[in-house]
Subunit: 291 residues, 6 copies
């Protein structure tokens, strides 16, 4: 069960309203690598987890991410607060309100117009948050790798936001949030490697003859090789030829006789006649079909 405390996890001091900046921060509210995505990623994993330690870890961090969602949402609310009142009360001229709505040079108009200045579950382009951002699949050795990667991405988005902000209160709060992603990443790394072995993920081993082969499929000048495709570990195939299994590279299926018949019937009905040089719609449309 969740309980909420009216205070934020981190104090937020915003120097001045700025709807354009608010719009950029939406990336971490309702965006792909934002705090709702993080919270839901760990929360859903936590509910399904059988291991008591990992379950506790996932719910600890999921709960913190919800608190971060609240911080980011509160910053956005502060940045939009002035404009929200102006639009609702319409004390400015229409022309001034129009300019204010479109003045950020980015998509901040959508927040004012559709959401009245409140934090919305959209990214900085106005695209609604989607459950497709949550890539959990229920195997911890895969999911914790996904979690590590998700924290790495979130750290970078915070870094970019810090780079474009000069409001000291916001920079400080974003610095806190960015740092917590690093702390979470370290915890997930530890938890992953506390499972031994954790590679390959799952139960099935790879097929030996293909697990250390490297296919050089992008060809031409400028090849640079490294530990990712050279050394004793790797068999490097310079110019791969289909089919690599030694077969003919064809796809076939055994069809029952009746189905074979209908497939052939369909093929005959829709066959293209390569001996024909038909007049076409493009000919009709370009005036070239004078016949």
């Amino acid at each position: 069960m969740f309980v909420h405390n009216k205070r934020l996890q981190y104090t937020v001091r915003v120097a001045a309203p700025n709807p354009g900046l608010a719009n950029l921060l939406l990336e971490q509210f309702g965006g792909a690598n934002g705090e709702l995505a993080a919270a839901m990623r760990y929360f859903t994993q936590g509910l399904a987890e059988e291991d008591a330690g990992r379950k506790d870890l996932l719910l600890d961090i999921a709960t913190e991410e919800l608190s971060h969602l609240e911080i980011i949402g509160s910053i956005i609310g502060m940045l939009n607060k002035g404009g929200k009142g102006d639009l609702a009360e319409a004390v400015e001229s229409e022309a001034e309100l129009y300019r204010a709505l479109n003045g950020g040079g980015n998509d901040s108009h959508i927040t004012s117009l559709l959401y009245g200045g409140g934090p919305a579950l959209i990214n900085s382009a106005g695209v609604p948050w989607t459950g497709a951002y949550v890539d959990s699949i229920g195997e911890p050795t895969a999911d914790f790798r996904s979690n590590i990667a998700a924290e790495a991405r979130a750290k970078i988005v915070y870094e970019r936001l810090i780079n474009v902000t000069d409001d000291p209160g916001i920079k400080e709060a974003l610095g806190f949030l960015m740092t917590r992603e690093l702390a979470h990443q370290k915890s997930f790394e530890k938890a992953l490697h506390s499972i031994q072995p954790n590679f390959p993920q799952g139960k099935l081993p790879g097929v030996p003859e293909f697990v250390s082969v490297y296919y050089n499929l992008s060809q031409g000048e400028g090849e640079v090789r490294g530990s990712w495709n050279s050394g004793d570990e790797w068999e490097f195939v310079e110019s791969p030829q289909p089919a690599v299994d030694g077969g003919d590279g064809m796809a076939t299926v055994e069809l029952p006789a009746t189905q074979l018949g209908t497939v052939q019937q369909m093929a005959v009905r829709t066959a293209s006649d390569p001996t024909l040089d038909p007049i076409t719609g493009a000919d009709l449309g370009s005036g070239s079909a004078v016949k």
Copy 2:
């Protein structure tokens, strides 16, 4: 530039049509962890990559994933081939065709009805592939962690598909594809760690006082601690109190005087009066309103 060879990278022998199985395999064709998602992930990263070695690696593997997309799509095509002809030629009774369409016990009807049995860019529930599956953000130390995680997830989905299939030709092809995910994962691991340092991602360091703190936010019986939140590396906060920065945990903004006025005007206009006990729509609807 891409060139295509009419042979598949791996030979496909399907024992019998099976639209229900075809539907499950869509997960690796047009699904979140499928081959299009993989190909596009590496292809878009490769185009933006400055490092020659990684660029080559990404385009090698992107190209292989396109070849895998072709293999999976070909298996799906074979599994649906018979039903496709039957429906198009309508040689069966309506009742039999209806049964065939719905007989898989899963969503295979959508493939027949909407896509005519061809491989479609949807997952096994019929949800169209979305660019939101591709989580590249343009910082290699983050992106390669994402790539490692993506390969880990794809490996698991292939393992699950192998577990529910008893067609030997399909099992063998899926085994090849699953194995290649492991090979790719190993390459991405090597390339990641060929960048030193690669943690933390990006340029900005974490804020020292928060980077090794663990907040115990899921409380109650059943705590299990491990290396992810105990040991010298960690400061464990048993019962975190807001705000952790020592401030009051409030969100504030400095508003210009005119905007402050409109915000207050809006607040007054929409204030809820806590001293009122109003009749409500629910009262009207439940018969409890005194009229």
Copy 3:
């Protein structure tokens, strides 16, 4: 800031695994009227709210909805628990696992295959949760009407789920959740009507000549009138004629001379000649074109 307690708000006793039922319950986990939608609806409103009483109310209920999300997710996890182990460990034959995956008669395969049996942010058809479900717009007299309606819908979905479940532990938990929606709906009604006036929403009044007019636009036998379009309050227009403002019903714009020129140029270039009876692609395709 949020804190989590390891115990659920309501105790869950599931009698037996049932992936098909789990799939139906996803409607209230990651569906349009589910608990995440509810929690996010009130949470985002609460962050933006200026009125202290309503802010508190919204965050109280948002927090409870997160706790409900946890209950529903836990039930789903229990219902899928057995199948999840079977698929991951593959101790059954492929054919049995295939049957288990597709045996629910509904979309439960997607949960097993893609999410490994964990609760996922999808609805019962496998469609990912979207921020588009949250219809908050930042004007409390509108938002609280939306909240009342959302609770009304959620109540109905719970009622339907109760009607198709005979597991007593699940029925009891769903009964609790359904009841809480009614309690929330009553609170939202009270808060709405504690704002006086609350109709019309916003500041602008309606245009007097159109605010009590009813246009009878669906015509023919079978009209039934009631208080919604008859009585002193209404002007009923039996057979509305355009334009109702008395104008010509045309749309016009004053174009600058240069733009008028380019529009005319485009019109001439793409004009259809009604005096022509052209041969078409359909003629070519049906053999009816005289060549």
Copy 4:
């Protein structure tokens, strides 16, 4: 059956082209609270309705909303008309066309580039209209509450648009459309309360011990109580403790013995060892791993 009259329901006089304003108006054409959403909401409800009076009402208003969609689309078309010709005929320099395309300060480029200036089924951020905006569920006492809320939201969006427009012809048309939402809202209110009782929605009553309880889950300074959680009607729980049913707050399921075995097998295979302090990828990446 529908019939169309070439005249609009309301005459539209646009003073000058303005693609930026056109983009904002898309919110009411292809946006969440726009006219297509309204028309489809009432149309789909109307088709399923059993009550003759409500069916007539829903189809009357659905038809009017289609007519409103036509009005809004016509205004958008007029506002984009000049720019559309310029781009298609390319009589300006590339630099001027580029400036025109991006000059609105908002997303108007997408309309020109992708839709050629015509009205498109997207909102003002370019997000395509989705059926997820239609929240009908087929129980009239819930659906009519949804309809009331939808009209309330649409009224507010029109009000905001009026506030940012100073073209008198557009303001007048938007005023008409805004007013009609109020008229529709009044009709839906009447129709809802013509069903008695209409609360609670559906057939199942709430569980008595939970229907009038208020859980104070957002805690700390600043509580404000009102009729929504105080008075005789309510039992106010100051500090709720899980589980509120008096149970242990755990989620459990009775598993068949074989499934219990596989779940345990999976748990063992993926157990995290809390006694381990493993080297991790982050250690490798930060140079802190002892190699």
Copy 5:
């Protein structure tokens, strides 16, 4: 302005309820090639059209497609009518209602559970209708080709639905709807070719040296050539080599000196060292790292 007549354009006689068939018919209600997609395609084009004849044509057919949407929706409503009442009134046992909900063998449960049996704007897999289905771009010579193709697809989906239905009243209504798509297709063909020339679309001609070249990019055994790549009209390039313009096939940009500096700085910071053979996370996870 639209007016509605309470009678359908075509009379609907359904022999018996059948939720599974209703689910399939959703493809033509809220699916990609369904009636809403058709109506909105022509309606939005019609609003933007400058040519009086085509505008009239588009609005005639848009209006008819709305009437078809009503027919399809009415059939769906009839097919679901019995189940809707059973679920709402819960007069059956839970087990029987559960079976009824999942009995169609397809996704019919979503319609009952979420939409209460009414016609919903989803396809047969439960995916919400999206504005992305409407591919109009505002150039009539392109749009009318899109319209022709859309009618062709809709005809095929109706044909498939007829093939799986044996209810004579439904077959007859679907036959009417399928036939109307053919009539519309013929009208659109005539209107397209009444514009002369209509190929190439738009104003810009193709670059002469590339407009009749065919690149043979799928290579290997099994080539079949026809009028699409052979004959006087075509230059066939057997084995295309990059770059076809005779350049080096590289992508370059002139960067200002300061930006060149930051790009190089980023490249150095994130360079992969190909001389390194690092230990990786996979090594740690597979036990192959020497610690």
Copy 6:
């Protein structure tokens, strides 16, 4: 199997960075009519095709479209290259980086912030690419019409992009890409008409009495008729009356007695009483309710 050559199909010379233009070009990378949509359209059709000539044609062109995707992505990468380095290395002031991010006057901020300047699978409004853009249905006479239309649309989008670009290297590359769409369109036209007959698509003929009827459903002044609805071929119905089949235009279903009972029970329970003039929530909210 695919093979990649490190050289592009066409050489790209970009004169200077321009993130705003890069954003517009995304339309052809991850947009509805862009190169991924084209490649996937032909690739999925090719995999399912039975006719050897068409299969070869589809895979030739699919492969070329992948090569075009690479060209467009490379141009985008070049246009964003400078800004990407600046943001990652943060050598500018925050204010300058903020201006750079928002300076394009369009949605270019999303590319920098979320994707780090790399080409992303989104359109110019930031909407992720969706499989819903691919409208293949598996009947070649329909699919090739769709392909012709898709090429026509893509040609127009390229033409518009050329019109707003004055960088000569980009104009030249876009001219090449636009021209190739024309070449592909011609090939698809030839292949379509090499199938004889190809109209009507599929197997079922139209119902004779409805296949040449034109319903004049948009009425009023301004009718213009042409070959699309006049001449010997057409029966023009001036004022269509429902039902056109001569029936009563009603929708009916035969319900089993028990289901009829539950439907009636539901109707009674939710009936609106037209004789009532109830007080409503709007009355309560507007102060017009007599209490």
